[in-house]
Every structure is written in C-alpha cells, then in structure tokens.
C-alpha cells in the first residue's frame, strides 16, 4: 500500500430539515490508501453514503477536514468541486444513470470528451467485457450490461478514485458478480483507488479493508489478510 489518497479528520455532517437536525456523520477519522479496494458496510443511515458524497465532491462537510493528497477538499467551492470530480473521480450508481439517448460507446465518450487523458471508449468497454455491445442503446442492454457500461464510463477518464454506491444493488447474484469482477480488474490493472458502498456483507471478502459504519461513525475496520476473487462469492 502507498501513501493515503484521502485523509479524513473529525468529519462531521449535520443536515437541517426544518426544525430537525440529523447528524449524519459524527466525527469520522480515517485514511484511504492509494490503490486500495475498500468496502464500506453498514445499515441505512449509518453515514457511509454521506462520507462517500463528501469524498466525491458532491456535498460539503459541516466540520472537520478532508485532504485529497495535498489539497483540502473541504475548502473547495462549487466550481472547484466540479473540476475535482471531472478530473479525479469516477462514479458508479446503483441505478446506472446512463443517458438513454446515447449508445454504450457514446455514453463513455460523454466523459472522455471532457477528460484530459482518457482511454478510448472502446478500450474502456473492452475492459468490462462489452467490446461487442458498443452500438447498443441502454434500452437494448440488460441491467448487468448497463452497469458495466456505467463502470466503463467511470473509468474511461482514468480517475484516481472510483466511488460505487450499491453497484450491485439492483442486480441478481450472477450478474452482480460480473460487475464486481470488472471493478476488481480495474482496481488491479489501473491501480484505481476504489470504494464500494454496500449492504451486502459477502462483498466485503473481495476488499483490502472493510469499514463498518454505525451511527455516523466508523465502528471498526477489518483488514482482509486474504482477499477472495469476485467469482468465489455469491449471495
């Protein structure tokens, strides 16, 4: 493992909706290392998504700091966060979020067009095993295939970090495994730091470390001495 990509210190997030205050994060301290494959586990409302949103530059913290390498993420404004996402971060969503009016190849191009050193869209789709589905529209692809297009779209710009929020949540076990295989392959081949949020305990086995969340805090961190291959797990 190399030096930390993220250094999180006393991170706090409070949502105010009307008169109710929700403490989503209550002082989180942790580091994420370069090239690490991290799984974040925890029940709904435990704060894992909030952490990922802040790390991904989608939301701003109430207190505490996040350092991305030497840059203080928590000090960035809206414009800088957009550039940060554009430059360094890849996202994979539970519900794929592909643009229905663009083909698989074009969905990937959408990102490569605004990136500085992207791979070719075909290359990215090849990495997730969809070299033969380039010209298909989302409506013509299965759920698993759509999610792999989403992964290809996320990695095509060679992001430093890949955030996945329940990437297999909408998929059956067999298809989910294929998606995970793609994520692991990207992590290994490109060295992309990857953080996966899930409810699914089984997925923890493929990570370097598993971070357990509860009540807006890190409850414990498990380090996997031996990682299992994605193909070896099922649920």
């Amino acid at each position: 493992m190399g030096k930390p990509v993220f250094d999180v210190d006393g991170l706090t997030k409070v949502y105010r909706t009307g008169e109710v205050e929700v403490h989503a994060l209550r002082g989180v301290d942790m580091e994420i290392d370069e090239g690490e494959f991290l799984v974040l586990l925890g029940p709904s409302g435990s704060g894992k998504s909030t952490l990922l949103n802040i790390l991904g530059g989608l939301d701003q913290a109430t207190a505490g700091t996040v350092m991305f390498r030497d840059i203080e993420l928590t000090a960035m404004d809206e414009r800088e966060l957009t550039l940060y996402r554009r430059e360094y971060i890849g996202f994979v969503f539970q519900f794929y979020n592909l643009v229905p009016s663009l083909t698989a190849r074009e969905n990937v191009s959408l990102v490569t067009e605004i990136a500085t050193d992207p791979m070719r869209p075909e290359e990215a789709l090849d990495m997730v095993g969809l070299a033969d589905r380039l010209e298909h529209f989302p409506a013509q692809l299965s759920g698993g295939e759509q999610q792999r297009v989403a992964i290809a779209r996320a990695i095509a710009k060679r992001p430093k970090v890949l955030f996945c929020d329940e990437p297999t949540g909408a998929l059956d076990s067999k298809t989910g495994v294929r998606v995970l295989e793609a994520l692991v392959a990207v992590n290994q081949d490109l060295g992309t730091t990857t953080a996966v949020i899930t409810h699914n305990v089984a997925i923890g086995d493929i990570a370097h470390r598993v971070v357990h969340f509860a009540d807006g805090k890190v409850a414990r961190i498990d380090v996997n001495e031996t990682r299992r291959a994605a193909s070896e797990i099922s649920w």
Binding site: S49, N53, G56, L58, D59, R79, T82, L83, R85, R86, E87, I89, F91, F93, Q94, F95, Y96, N97, L98, V99, P100, S101, L102, T103, E106, N107, S109, L110, V111, E113, I114, E135, F137, P138, A139, Q140, R153, A154, D165, A170
Partner: protein
C-alpha cells in the same frame, strides 16, 4: 377535506410557477376574446341606442335651393315616417389666437319646437334663440378643443360676410359622431366644427327664405329605401338635388361603421387564434405534467383507489389551473374591454355608453379552455390509469432511441449535441408541437405589429407620394378657372392646381355607387395619381379612372364601359370607358381629366377648388387672407391632417396592438417556459448524473436549453409564414369601402417579432437555468429511474 384534495392544493402550490405560466397563457386567450367581442358589442349597441333615442335619419338629400312645400310631397312618399328640412352650409371660421382657418358645417334648427330628426344631445347651455341671429350651439369636441364655453364668441365668414357668433350651448349629435372636415382623413376637432343656428338666422344669412338645402327622412319599418331615394331624387331634381343617399353613405355613419367593422374583424380573427394557441398549449403541457405523476398514480392504485377517483383527482387538478386562467382572463378582458370601449366612446363622443358583455362570451371561453385542459389531462391520466399499479409505480422503461445518421457523420459533434439531436428526433411530434406553439406566438406578434407597417405605407403613399399639396381650398360655388391664377398671386402661394369635383353615380351592370369624380389638369404635380405599380400617371384625356377599390366593386377593368350619372347641375347620363385604374387606400375615388369633367357638366372651364403649395414662412399671412375670402368654403391642411391621422391612430390602434402584442409575449413565454420546465422534470435526473460525472452547470444546461434554442430558432420561419397568413386574413377583414389596408410587413417587423419571442425564450431559459444550477446531485445516487 379529503386527503386527495389536500394533495391537489399542495400540488398546485408546489408547481405554482408552472401553474401561473399555463394559467397566464389561458388568461391571454380568454382576455382577447372577452375584450374584443365585448368592446365590439358594446360599441355597436351604444351606437344603435344613440341612433334610436336621438332619431338618426335613414335617408339624406342635399339640394341647392328647394321650396319648403316639397317637404309635404316628400312626407307623402310611401314608406316615409318623418321628414325634416334644414339649411346646411359650410363656413370658414376665424378664431382668435389661431392663425390657421377652421371650417364649420352650419346646420339649421327649427324655430319652434324640438328637432324631429337627428336630435341634439345638449351638453351645456341652451338652443339658439330665433330672435338672436348670432347665437350658435357648437359640437362639444370643438368647444373642448378651444376651451370654449357658453358666452364665448368666434368669427365666421357666412356667405362672404364676416360675423361674430356667440356660443349659447354645446351638444352632441348622432349625425356627426365622426365629424370629418372636407378633404380631411381624420376628425380634427380644432379645425372642424359643427354649428347649429336657428333656421330663421340661416335663412337670412344664406338668402334661403322659405327654402331648404338639406332634407332628412326617417323610414317606416319595411319601407323600400331604394324607392324612397328614387322618389326624393325626382322631387329635388329641379332644385339642384345632388342625389339622395341612405345611411350607409352618410359620412359619419360610414366611418363609424368601418371602425366597428375593423373591431369586429379583430374580434373575429385574433381571439380565436389566441384561444387556440392557449388551448393547444394547455393540452400539451398538462398532458405531460400528468404523465410525470406516473409513480404517484401507481401508488394510489396500489393503496386501493379506484381508477375513476384517481382520474377525477387529476382532472380536478387541470380544471383548477384552467379555472385560474379563465378567472384572470375574464377579469382582465372585461377590464381592458371596458377601457377600450370608453376609449372609443370618447373618441366618437358618444353621450353615453352601453356595456354589453353577454354571458355567452364567458361561456365560450370557459368551454374552450377548460375543455382543452381536461382533454389534455384526461389523455395522460388514462394512459397511466390503465397500467397495473406495480408497473405504474416503476419508472417507464428507458426510451428506445434510434440512430438516424451514420456514425461517421456525427463525429464532428459532441455527445451532448448528439443528445439534443436524438432527443428531438425521438419525440418528433412533441418537438413539432413545441415549434408550432412558439411559431404561433411569433405569428400573433407579427399579425399585431404589421398594422404599423401598413399604416406607415398608407401615410407615405397618401401624403408623400400622391397628395403632396400643403393645403386644399374648396369654393362655396364653382368658379371660372381663371381664379387659379388669382390664388397664385396670394402671399406665400408657390403653386396652385385647379380641381373640379362633381358628385356622380357610377354604374356597371347592376352595381352602382355614389362617388365624387375628381377632375385634375394634365400634368398635375401637387396632387398626383399613381397607378397600381405606384408610378405617377397622367389621367387620359378621355375616359374614367376609378381607384382599384372602386374598380373591384364595379367589376370593371381598363377597356370596360361604365355609365355615369351626374348628381349636380343638370342631370346627365353618359357612357364612359375606363382608361386607367388608380391606386388608392382611402375612400372610393375616381378621376377624370378636368376639361372632360367640365364637358360632362356642359360647362366652360370651371373649378370647384384648388390644391396649393405654400411657403411655410408666409403661411400666417396667407391664412389671414383666406379667412376673408368669400369664395372659400373650406380649407384643409395636409400637415395638420397628417398629424391628426397619426395621433388618432396612435390613440386607437397603438393601444389595441400593444394589448395584443403583450398577450402574444405572454404566450411566447408560456410556451417556452413550460417546455423547458417539463423537460427539466423529465430529464432532471439525467442532467444531475452528468453533473456528478463532472459536467459544469453550463455544459448541462446546454443539453436542455440547446434543444430549446434549436426549437425556438426552427419556429421563427414557420411563425413568419403563419403570421403573414394571419395578417392577410386580418387585412381582408379590415377592407371596407372607406379604407383598404395594404398588407405591408417590413423586415424590421419580422425581426422585432422574432426578437420579442427570442427574448421571452431567453427569460424562460434563465429561470430554468437557475433550477438546473440547483439540481440535487445526491438525490440522483439514491433514487431509481
């Protein structure tokens, strides 16, 4: 309150901007209908009531000098209900502090008792005392224009003698609602007066003891107008009768009628278009708005609500929006309509106004708008209600897009641009409807604004191309042609051009019209006639040259023969060939060479008036002389006339056009805003995920606003075409025997209409852009499609 009804209220509040935009478009449609139809009906009814209460006559005739006993003969004509004889003459006025001479129509009042016909509505003071020959009642507008009140005096040149007249009252008359001076194109209250004097005073002044110069006749219901006119003509022939005519040829009535016809045409053409646009928009937007509620509809079904109850809920929703629109539009339209009726009422000097806003106008408005709304909503609700709840609760499957062009062709475009293109092509009907909606607002604007172009064109044609004289004098009687050279010697007169006007009847087949023939000398340069290609033409030495409007009515072309019957002097009927057709927009005109007119009258070289070119610096000197010239019956001044023309139009047309243009802008804004807003609801998630992927706000906004920009630009040419058609239809509706409105739309107007719509589009784009900026990025990660 039921939970569903509470939901209804909250939904309305949640979507308040959109609800307001749709309701405003509807209101615009309703307002135009209520305004235009209501104002027209009110003015029409006001005029009818005014005519009836003040006994406006049905048939009118002028003679040089007819003996009073003829009145009994006329009364004996079958179908005649009442007869009143009068003396009606023109006089030049000399008003203190006004160098420009004014003209007055002097009308006699009976010595004893009330007027039988064309009764006065006294505003101030009393009627003239027959024992005081210098007393006069003037029309209110003239008094107001000069700040006169009873007791004030002015000078009049009556039959060559200058006399001081004392105002004893002011009045309104159904006969002079539209008081137009000789050769004037618009009423000018400062320079044209109606003066009512006692019969006795006028008999003495004009040497018409026991005689009359004008007779008015009221007909019995069902009487034959044509027959009565023929009989009156026969009776008056020996006394210098100039041909009796019916109401439709009475000047004030004819102009008023033309104005009302224009209002009616406006009411017939524009409101249906507005209403149609509004209905169309409502149908489109509400349909899509309901479609967005798909999941909620599924949920309600899952909870056990009947399809019918859900459908009713959404129909109430759209009906509520329609109701808001109808109420705003109804109130605004009524208010604007009352305002416009008052404006016209003031302009015409009606003594009172009858406001007639029938329930039927509102009923039509409600029926059309609510109907369109409910239909639009019902279509969408039904398509969702039919689905099983489980399916409805899921988002619709991703839309299947198609590649429409080979990949190579698209390589030059960014993916976002391809998204715009595919989205438009995927929903061609929707895109076409949006384009159509926007183009209608361009069209309505164009159809409102072109009026200014057409008027400018008419002004240029009338005042700068054809009638270029500074002043026109009309003599009290025909004079020998030599008088023209006398006029040229007057101070400040640069040139004088003789005119001989004769009232005639022109006949071709069964069609017959009373028109003046204007005789002009060859090579007339001040007052020119232009042919249909706008080239100045010399009137052929022989033959008759009608204006195109008259030629159309008579159905004649160059080479045809028309029959001309003189209505002045000794009656003559001659056949004359049509040798040219002249361009003309105002009135039914016809021209002949002046020598030929004199030959027609079997007279030597005579003139009835003259056009003058004036040296502006010596105008006051000239006017002072003209005021003392016994031969001058009236004077018209082109510049003053033009100014009046512009002012009057500014008063009437500008206000109406501004109202229509403003409503068109509301529509443009409504169409674009609603399109953008619904698109945003439908595609917000897609756009938010792009933001998450690192697209900037502007890049994301381009996807949505770029599409709107494409559709807006595409709508412009279509709008120009539709606008031209509507303008053409409007012009057809405005045609009357008194006006022909040329269809002129300048490039500037096309540009203005387009810019207004682009601006409305830009404003709605900015509002939507603010919403795009506020897209919730985190929500995207959570919710499913």
């Amino acid at each position: 309150m039921l939970a569903l009804d509470r939901k209804l209220l909250r939904d309305l509040w949640r979507l308040k901007t959109q609800v307001a935009a749709i309701a405003l478009v509807m209101a615009a449609g309703v307002a135009t209908l209520v305004l235009a139809v209501g104002a027209y009906r009110s003015l029409f009814e006001t005029r009818e009531t005014y005519y009836e209460r003040y006994r406006f006559a049905d048939v009118f005739a002028h003679a040089t000098r007819a003996p009073e006993w003829l009145a009994e003969e006329i009364a004996r004509i079958p179908g005649v209900a009442a007869v009143e004889t009068r003396i009606v003459k023109t006089a030049i006025l000399d008003i203190e502090g006004m160098s420009v001479p004014a003209t007055s129509m002097l009308v006699s009042m009976p010595e004893i008792g009330d007027q039988i016909l064309n009764r006065l509505y006294m505003r101030q003071g009393r009627t003239p005392d027959p024992t005081h020959s210098d007393e006069v009642v003037v029309n209110e507008a003239f008094a107001v224009a000069h700040g006169f009140s009873p007791g004030d005096t002015f000078h009049a040149i009556i039959d060559g003698r200058k006399r001081r007249l004392t105002i004893v009252g002011t009045a309104l008359s159904p006969e002079y609602i539209y008081a137009l001076g000789p050769w004037d194109l618009m009423p000018d209250d400062e320079r044209f007066a109606i003066g009512w004097m006692s019969r006795k005073a006028m008999e003495a002044a004009f040497d018409l003891d026991g005689a009359f110069s004008q007779v008015s006749v009221k007909l019995l219901r069902g009487a034959s107008e044509g027959e009565v006119i023929e009989r009156i003509d026969a009776l008056l022939e020996r006394y210098g009768g100039r041909g009796a005519y019916a109401r439709k040829d009475q000047q004030s009535h004819a102009f008023l009628d033309a104005e009302l016809k224009q209002l009616e045409a406006m009411a017939r053409i524009l409101p249906p278009i507005f209403l149609f646009v509004a209905a169309f928009l409502i149908n489109m937007t509400l349909g899509r708005l309901v479609a967005l509620e798909r999941e909620q509809i599924g949920l309600m079904k899952a909870l056990g609500y009947r399809s019918m109850a859900i459908a009713m809920h959404y129909l109430k929703f759209v009906a509520a929006i329609a109701a808001i629109g109808v109420i705003i539009g109804g109130v605004a339209g009524t208010w604007l309509g009352f305002g416009m009726t008052r404006l016209y009422g003031d302009f015409f000097h009606f003594p009172f106004l009858v406001f007639l806003w029938g329930a039927d106008i509102y009923a039509i408005a409600v029926f059309v708008t609510v109907g369109a709304a409910v239909l639009g909503g019902a279509r969408a609700v039904w398509s969702v209600v039919r689905l099983p709840p489980a399916v409805a609760m899921h988002a619709a499957a991703p839309t299947r897009y198609r590649r429409l062009l080979a990949n190579g062709w698209l390589r030059g475009f960014s993916q976002t641009t391809i998204m715009i293109g595919r989205h438009i092509l995927r929903w061609p009907v929707r895109a076409a409807l949006t384009v159509f909606g926007i183009s209608l607002s361009v069209a309505v604007l164009l159809a409102s604004l072109f009026a200014f172009d057409s008027i400018d064109f008419m002004i240029d044609f009338t005042y700068f191309q054809s009638d270029r004289q500074d002043a026109t004098l009309e003599f009290t009687l025909e004079r020998p042609a030599l008088v023209t050279s006398d006029l040229e010697r007057l101070p400040g007169v640069l040139a004088a051009e003789p005119v001989r006007m004769v009232a005639v009847k022109v006949r071709h087949g069964h069609v017959e019209r009373r028109v003046p023939i204007i005789g002009k000398p060859a090579g007339a340069d001040l007052s020119r006639v232009l042919d249909e290609s706008f080239r100045p033409v010399t009137i052929p030495e022989t033959g008759f040259a009608p204006s195109d409007a008259l030629a159309d009515i008579l159905g004649v072309r160059v080479g045809d023969i028309v029959q001309i019957e003189t209505l002045e002097g000794r009656k003559r009927i001659v056949d004359v060939p049509v040798t040219a057709v002249i361009q003309g927009y105002l009135g039914l005109l016809s021209f002949m060479d002046i020598t030929q007119v004199n030959r027609l009258m079997r007279e030597g070289p005579m003139v009835s008036g003259a056009h003058l070119a004036i040296d502006e610096s010596k105008a006051d000197e000239l006017f002072a002389e003209v005021k003392d010239m016994p031969l001058v019956g009236s004077i018209a001044l082109q510049k003053v006339s033009l100014q009046k023309f512009r002012e009057t139009l500014a008063e009437n047309i500008t206000i109406m056009i501004t109202v229509y243009a403003a409503l068109a802008m509301v529509i443009a804004f409504g169409v674009v805003y609603n399109s953008a807003r619904i698109q945003l609801s439908e595609r917000g998630r897609e756009l938010a995920s792009l933001r998450v992927l690192g697209f900037t706000r502007n890049e994301v906004a381009w996807i949505l606003l770029g599409e709107l920009a494409v559709l807006t630009l595409a709508s412009l040419p279509l709008g120009w075409g539709l606008g031209y058609i509507i303008a053409w239809a409007t012009v057809q509706g405005l045609q009357s025997e008194l006006y022909r409105v040329p269809l002129v739309i300048t490039r500037q107007t096309y540009a203005e209409a387009s810019l207004v719509v682009l601006a409305a589009a830009a404003v709605s784009a900015l509002i939507v852009k603010r919403r795009i900026n506020r897209l919730d990025l985190i929500e995207v990660l959570k919710t499913r499609e």
